[in-house]
Amino acid sequence: MTLSKDQQREAYRRMLSIRSFEQAAARQIDNGEIPGAVHSSIGQEAAIVGACMALRDTDYITGTHRSHGHPIGKGAKLPPLMAELMGRTTGICKGRGGSMHLADSSVGIIGESAIVGGGIPIATGAGLSAHVRGTDQVSLCFFGDGATNEGSFHESLNMAAIWKLPVIYFCENNLYAATTPLRSSHGQPDVAHRAAGYGMPGVIVDGQDLEAVHAATGAAVARARRGEGPTLIEAKTYRFDEHAIGLFLPSIYRSSEEVDRYKRERDPLALYRQALLAAGHGEAELAALEQSVSRQVDEAVEFARNSPHPDPAEVYEFMYSNPINYPRAERQSS
């Protein structure tokens, strides 16, 4: 299963968008334009985009606190994402979610959960829902290696397997749960091996190789659509930035040699650029794409800067679909 020339361009565009968007976000944290915590996906772009490109627009995904890559990977528009990071009323979540919850339902995202493992049962329920409603949608769940030690992971995989639900469990294994290395939190190095315990396939894939991720995910998606049940995919990847941008760390938990080696040898964008050139895409074509993405990110930042802040009087909005006697703001503000 290989990507067409157009799909390759689109995959590269989405990977570039994630990186450029997050580099812009890092600059805006520095200049005080983005409040709160920001967790970047830089280094993990091939895993995210390779998985998302194997899905249809109508398929569901859930994500994590590292939430920028997933909507961009699934094809979301950048301006509402950037506006959300800057807390504006034009933000995708109207300034209620921020960097850890960049969920864009227009591209099938049903939640970016900042509770580790929190989205895994939700994605499983979306798979159940597709099964009950008789559609051929699949549900793909992104989570990190840290989440695989949560009860929600084990409970969800078990139920998806016994009921053969159309769910793809996609582990972005970046080797560190915040600062805890995988080797000190797992009894063996491969998350995918846990699949055997639930009676589903477990697949290990090079998360820095977009086409390999795409092929593995495509096979899992096809299996899910055939009604044969879930798959656990483990993409071996790496996070280039700190757990959160600007995080103060009192001690070192990974060597700078390791980080430098990944950046030098395993950068998914550099690797894919080489692959695209080898596949016959021209240097000028790629350079034009890079400029176009850079311009789109600048435009997203400008859009966000020019957007209004939310009105504090509207803080109760979006609590309920069907409000009853709510808000009692006149009582609660005193």
Binding site: C93, A126, L128, V132, E155, N322, N325
Partner: protein, 322 residues
Amino acid sequence: MTSQRLSYLSAILEAQKEEMERDPSVIMMGEDIALYSATGVLGKLDNKRLWSTPISELGFTGMGVGAAMTGLRPIVDLTIASFAYLASDQIINQAAKVRYLTGGQARVPIVFRMSMWHNQANAAQHSDRPYPMFMNVPGLKIIAPSGARDMKGMLKAAIRDDDPVLVFEDNDLWMKSEDVPSDPDFLVPLGKAAVKREGRDVTIVSIAGCILHTLPAAEQLAGEGIEAEVIDLRSLAPLDTDSILASVAKTGRLVIVDYAHRTNSAAAEIAAIVAEEAFDALKAPIQRVTTPDVHIPFSPKLERPLYPNKDKVVAAVKKIIK
């Protein structure tokens, strides 16, 4: 309107059956569900509507949330209310919050059922009445009906509601019967209290099975010339503050009867609201009849005296009506 005599428990089963027949997007999930809580539904529906789950409260609760966000209306049966603690991340961090967190993109039409099995010698891990904990979470609707009629009408309204609703079922009430309208569209709206008895001297606010003590207490007081107004709260979130304040404005006295532990109970919140908003109407201090802050013991000799009962309600009223 025709009606039928239903127990509180059969009202639950009837409500589920009718809503599942009416709306194909309603599904049920829970442990041992085919055997217990879906009785009367089984056999009439295809096997995709009832999900008898492994013992995985967190997992299946979250699956219900995901299903609710993608077009279904799940009824998640957590059976014993204490088991909701295992599922609380999905109830609190997901069901209650995702609509807000996504700026209104999400919709979570889900019902969580849980029963309160206090007074049954089941000791501390099966005897909690944890509704006040969930009242501290914005984004949830919480009901605790006290009779078959309200249970059927409110559970049906909850299933049709587009927001997450927690239903606290009081095991003391399961076998109590009432006449319930047979109309399959009979609904009791969420968010409104019911005046079960009118009176001028004191307001007694009653929650769930406390009605079994407050109405007899009001009867006894009436025999002594004290007319109590009994308000059955029915809905804990949103709280029908207007009904409580209107009654207190009339009677000038308030007793709240609540099975929860005393600290931060529903009674504590109601007392605070009345103190803030109707202090001038009060002729006497507000009284709370609650369960003390101690774990529920196994031995019935230890357990039974802890809870609100008729005598405690009468004593609380008499304390503020000299």
